[in-house]
Assembly symmetry: C2
Amino acid sequence: MKTELSAFFDRVRPAIEATLDGLLPAESSSPVQIHKAMRYSTLGGGKRIRSSLCVAAFAAYQENWKPILPVAAAVELIHAYSLIHDDLPAMDDDDFRRGKPSCHKQFNEAIAILAGDALLTLAFEVLARSSDFPADRMLEVMSVLGRAAGTRGGMIAGQVLDLEAEGAQITAEQLEKIHRSKTGALIGASVWIGAYLGGAPEGDVERIEKYSDRIGLAFQVIDDILDTRDGKDRDQKKATYPGLHGLEQSQAIAHDLTEDARRAIAPIGKSAGLLVEFCDYLETRTH
Amino acid sequence: MKTELSAFFDRVRPAIEATLDGLLPAESSSPVQIHKAMRYSTLGGGKRIRSSLCVAAFAAYQENWKPILPVAAAVELIHAYSLIHDDLPAMDDDDFRRGKPSCHKQFNEAIAILAGDALLTLAFEVLARSSDFPADRMLEVMSVLGRAAGTRGGMIAGQVLDLEAEGAQITAEQLEKIHRSKTGALIGASVWIGAYLGGAPEGDVERIEKYSDRIGLAFQVIDDILDTRDGKDRDQKKATYPGLHGLEQSQAIAHDLTEDARRAIAPIGKSAGLLVEFCDYLETRTH
């Protein structure tokens, strides 16, 4: 049976795709190769979890969620840039991404580096050009996104810590920090931004903040669990929750996190229904 | 004899340096290695031409130029990121930068890629946090900077075209396009942003736009001339103005550009004196 969440995501995904398609420079425009690479690595793949969550949080406060699409798409551009750079030989050295050759395999390393740079630049340009929200709110959004993508508890911090941890013995605390920064921060920011631009009242923003924090971490823990169960070994050098805590304990941790997330937004009531359902979705993935 | 311009730049440079120092995360903060790399590649070197021009344009309209410093520093962060990525083995493969090992030689390739990403991210975060100017103006600044750094006539476009042109026969028109986008766009944006945030009246903004365009290109043409005269051969594969037009003709082109720039801002009068002097400075470099 289709849940309300999956029906919602099924409507949002093509809208995100169309928005990205419109924001990315045409393949025919000069310099052709970089625009091809940007489109190759951004379009036609990916679950669009971050942008869909952003839209879902916005939709908790606004019936018409069209205005948030460029903002949600910008988050997706940042995610796409990070995947291109993560895949580079000097980083995780992955030849495949989303079932096709990674950007540097399909094009070359120089183009892959520049395509990542360009997607990150474009994300901020798109946000700066957005005129559907008050300018001061957009600045706040860009500041939050910059931090979530950056080196102080953000995505780049996570990638650095992750590279440093390869093959090393790390503590549970360190692993949580890696996951929180590498994946949690951007997912958390996506939800927060949606609620904030949707006009969530002050009290709700705090609730959403707590929710975002928990599901951001839960998402990566569950990804670890799935990778382990599927016997994916390409990341054997990487520290994971099942590797450190065992599979059962990892599931318990994921359960506690999603429970915590549910509780945090319970006072918001029916309008946050999709966000509650997302907790269910995360948990069912592990069963 | 010290010109007014060099006296001004001598006062601005340490202020930019101090601003950058304050904006960059401390070396002691986690993850230590990335913060070390960011500071290594940003501080203690560079002529700070872009940021100084930004301050000079601002100073044409405001006596107190302190408020523009974080904005000017953000431009310098973007410039620093571009140098780190340009130096990577997959790109220009340069082992030295500003007289010391380039970032990937001093640290490693992964850290260099991430440090570049982090400086670009930080630049936009700094601009988003700036509260000295109206929010809508800051959004316009970020949009202009994003475009100047991006793939449609911006810095990344220039880098792609430059890589594509290596060893190839290119036309004068193509070379102008490379220089305009690779160097001209960001220099032009720096001047424009300074004048715009300084509150230049509409008519002046257009004059400054023309000026920025001309000196942006002139700067790179003159850089080419100096490199050729100094016998720098590390970029022999790269297309240059003297390589295509000869030394004398290149000087004539540079002269025409700076003359054009001077003429464009002549109606602004005395307050734009520093910007006029910058044209003199550029030209004297070639003599």
